[in-house]
Subunit: 307 residues, 2 copies
């Protein structure tokens, strides 16, 4: 079970956090930009190579203290195919360094289309009898608005590879409530999605009691996390919204069970852009990122004891 | 308004249909595959170039009779960055041939992440004061489970460029009903999404009365389409599910208003794979695709009169 692997890494490092890799070119310190632009020009290729250098340096700075990274596909798609090329390389680099990679793609489609997505992100594509792995993450995020049909093909691919998925349940943004908090029958919409995650995982519980179908539950709605933790005892949580969006360590503690298991908290900009917050010229961005990651770990571990 | 442009094209060709460009390598006739594999090897690069040859030949065969194409991102992502490279080229080729391009990406995210997606797919990314356009479609499909926050950044980008979006409302798959048909307050979930489309478009009606926020409404639920057409008079519909999934011309007629406006019906495999259905060796795939597209047009125009 892939969430077992993640939970083991979290326990080993005593750190239930994941670092987002969502760089815009403006987050990359100038000396790196200049290096890449000098070699590849100030265009898409130069920007991509600058971000790749930034990503790999962040991974090097974090891989012994942070168990996972979460690249957000949008920040690579906006650079076209060349962005997707460094996304492939970034995922490979992080996995080679032993990090668990959550591809934050929020895909949602059905049948053969979902199967094609799953090939790209999880299981590889067959051509002439050979399997070609491209984005090859450990885990993806999914949007199940279209129903269980939009999750099963991913799950099939994930199970062949001992990988896993997260379904959007309650997201961390302001307008999340517009649909997600509506009363649907005797439940709320986000509970319907949460129950779907719990149901689709049934029978696939791993060593720590969690299945291969996780749920995204935003730190900005702590009372919902608290009730979801009780409602979905076998569902691993990915918790966005800590830090910049307002979620605190006190809020995210509810995502964990009594052993401090079953959740991982994301932070992106606070780690990537720690050098900007410190007001430096960026030469020290890797040290600043590491410091920010350690501070986040310590902040959360004040409230969560991992057994 | 970009749906005006689409509606004009539909009227000029008397054809309210869009051809999917969702090729798996197995849909590509052997002579094309052989050509590409001979030059680029039987791997990702060879498969991508074979699909690109197939796509461009289909576009050539269809561009004077079909107003739009809809590439589905999944069938390019499963080939990694090289797949994304031919997706860029395919979109550019189709637009150069005068076709309206709907990128079927079903993205759904918030804030700067949604803005990054919108840059990639609609408005271009700025680097060093220059705007670089990559996937550059006319229109994208969106999943608004996360709420209006997940649509507005796309809409902002679309409006700068005179482009448009479709929001998933009622999809064509079997499990669509699991969430979409739930009673949410005094409405059904898919009506909530439909009302969101109508509301976000308000004040942006074009020449034909439709806004720049469309809705995806599956052909497989004709009575829902009928009620949605009344409920959302200013919302342009993208209708999947015709043909292979069971939707008929009689079903999709309800997506159009009394002037035969406001909807476009998709078919993918029935056009791309017409040569396989005809049992040929594939040399005639372009002619078979054109025949299938004309047959679909005639079938729908039996039931819909476009003023």
């Amino acid at each position: 079970m892939s969430f077992d692997v993640l939970q083991e890494k979290i326990r080993a490092m005593r750190n239930p956090t994941v670092a987002g890799l969502d760089a815009r070119i403006s987050y990359v310190p100038e000396h790196i930009r200049r290096e890449a632009y000098d070699q590849f020009g100030e265009g898409l290729k130069g920007a991509c190579e600058a971000i790749y250098l930034f990503n790999t340096a962040l991974i090097d700075a974090l891989c012994d203290i942070v168990p996972a990274v979460k690249p957000q596909s949008a920040y690579y798609e906006n650079l076209g195919w060349q962005g997707m090329e460094i996304l492939e390389r970034t995922i490979r680099y992080a996995r080679d360094k032993g990090m668990f990679v959550i591809a934050d793609v929020k895909r949602g489609d059905i049948g053969t289309t979902a199967a094609a997505y799953a090939e790209g992100w999880l299981s590889g594509t067959e051509i002439g009898g050979e399997t070609f792995r491209t984005f090859d993450a450990d885990c993806v995020t999914l949007n199940a608005y279209m129903g269980s049909d939009s999750v099963s093909p991913f799950l099939e691919a994930a199970r062949k590879e001992d990988k896993c998925v997260f379904i959007l349940v309650k997201t961390s943004n302001d307008s999340a409530c517009e649909l997600q908090d509506m009363v649907a029958g005797d439940r709320l919409v986000y509970q319907v999605m949460g129950d779907l995650a719990e149901r689709l995982g049934e029978g696939h519980e791993g060593k720590y009691g969690f299945t291969d179908v996780g749920a995204v539950t935003g730190a900005t709605y702590p009372s919902d996390i608290q009730s979801l933790r009780k409602r979905l005892p076998h569902t691993f949580f990915l918790v966005p919204g800590y830090g910049a969006q307002g979620g605190t360590a006190e809020d995210v503690r509810y995502a964990f069970n009594e052993y401090g298991h079953g959740a991982i908290v994301n932070a992106s900009r606070s780690i990537m852009c720690a050098w900007q917050k410190a007001g430096t010229d960026g030469w020290d961005f890797a040290d600043r990122a590491r410091e920010a990651a350690l501070a986040m770990r310590d902040d959360i571990c004040r409230c969560v004891t991992i057994v």
